[in-house]
Amino acid sequence: MTDAKVDASSGGAAPPTTPVPSGKPGAFSRRTFMRWSIPTGWTAFTAACVSGLVATGRFMFPNVLFEPPQSFKAGRPDEYNVGEVDTRWVDSYGVWIVRDQTGFYALIATCTHLGCTPNWLATENKFKCPCHGSGFYRTGVNFEGPAPRPLERARIVLADDGQILIDKSVKYQQEKGDWEKPGSFLRA
């Protein structure tokens, strides 16, 4: 400090010299402290802000959902009558289990038009959506109304205990050829 003052007063127009860091070389000076603490501080502040934002976003995704699980056991195969569309799981899980001559498949009860829940009309032998009138055969294939594609099927397998296991998180779409895959159909 004193050196710089003397220079400035004697030289007049001389450019101000950089003050020499005080203390011995290698000592922890004020400048060293600033050089490290300011970037560190801003980095920590930015990290705190970002993690606060992330935490706030994560807050909107609950850990426990009070809704039916995606996967469930649907009883033993002999509890289903051949040739029937079974509606016992529609209210709780949103799935129809259809038993035809050769086996089972699980149709997801979500209209492929805009996502309403169709009804199974046994007398008319079709699924009918109340929102915009889309109709589906018992296979799930659409034939009337605005629905652009067949109903989706859920994964259906036999569990170790001999019960039917439905997993809605695995979907099979007819238009993608998925209905040929194992899991989309359970042979009796």
Partner: protein, 266 residues
């Protein structure tokens, strides 16, 4: 004051305006000339959003259709009636529908909900007509282009207010309308589980964007329109969106003045 003859009214007025209570509220004298009228507007927190002086074209109905003002009026009506409805309405699956029925049948002045509903419809209509007027008079052009953008955001918020309020009666129409409407969020690019690019976001074999973690899930608080959706829409409808809209409205009105005043050629 001193020069005018002392009438009874004049004396009463002097008595009131000389009290400390009066003078602590109103810092300037009664608005009886141009300067004091301007001061009244300038020194009042509610009036100061409005300009002290406007061009004579600003009050011509043919220029403005009064649609922006009417939209704000409906917003105020909706805030007031909505606040009253909150004293009775409980946003849960067990109570919501019956509370709406009770609001019409049991609560005194059963038209409060209808006032809220019709004002909501009216606000959507007036905000569109306001936008049409601004377009027809070319008031979106520089230097007002920023305020047009703020207005577009306010239009979106108005529609979102309408959309979130639609669910609250919790009848079949409400549930399926929101089911259909929120299904659009499935197709959000990257963040919707049926949207383009969402399959790219994976950790190894585990997909990050599923029906339990996508944009629609965040909106509904669940995989379908249920308890979580009702509560989230209620909070957004009553607090979240109105708060943002109020802030943007303040910016919007302020910029009307700063960008050259209401509805006149520059």
């Amino acid at each position: 004051m001193a020069t005018t003859p002392k009438t009874l009214i004049g004396r009463a007025q002097e008595l009131v305006t000389s009290t400390q209570v009066w003078k602590s509220v109103f810092r300037n004298r009664l608005p009886d000339d141009r300067r004091s009228r301007a001061l009244v507007v300038l020194s009042n927190v509610f009036l100061h959003l409005h300009p002290v002086r406007i061009h004579k074209s600003g009050i011509r109905v043919k220029f403005t259709w009064c649609m922006g003002g009417l939209t704000f009026f409906f917003f105020l009506v909706l805030t007031f009636t909505g606040l009253l409805l909150m004293f009775y309405y409980r946003p849960t699956v067990a109570y919501a529908y019956m509370d709406i029925v009770d609001l019409a049948e049991q609560v005194p002045l059963g038209i409060m909900r209808e006032l809220h509903r019709w004002s909501g419809h009216a606000m959507v209509i007036t905000v569109w007509l306001h936008m049409l007027r601004v377009f027809l008079t070319g008031s979106y052009k520089p230097p007002r282009e920023f305020n047009w953008s703020v207005g577009v955001l306010l239009l979106v918020l108005t529609l979102l207010l309408s959309f979130t309020g639609y669910l609250l009666p919790w009848d079949q129409l409400a549930i399926w309308a929101i089911t259909v409407g929120s299904n659009m969020a499935r197709a959000t690019p990257l963040l919707g589980h049926e949207g383009p690019g969402s399959a790219l976001l994976t950790l190894g074999d585990v997909p990050l964007i599923t029906s339990g973690s996508d944009a629609r899930f965040a909106l509904l608080g669940g995989r379908f329109v249920g308890e979580g959706a009702l509560l989230r829409f209620y909070v957004l409808h009553c607090v979240g969106i109105p708060l943002v809209a109020a802030i943007l409205m303040a910016v919007h009105f302020w910029r009307v003045r700063k960008d050259g005043g209401i509805s006149r050629p520059l």
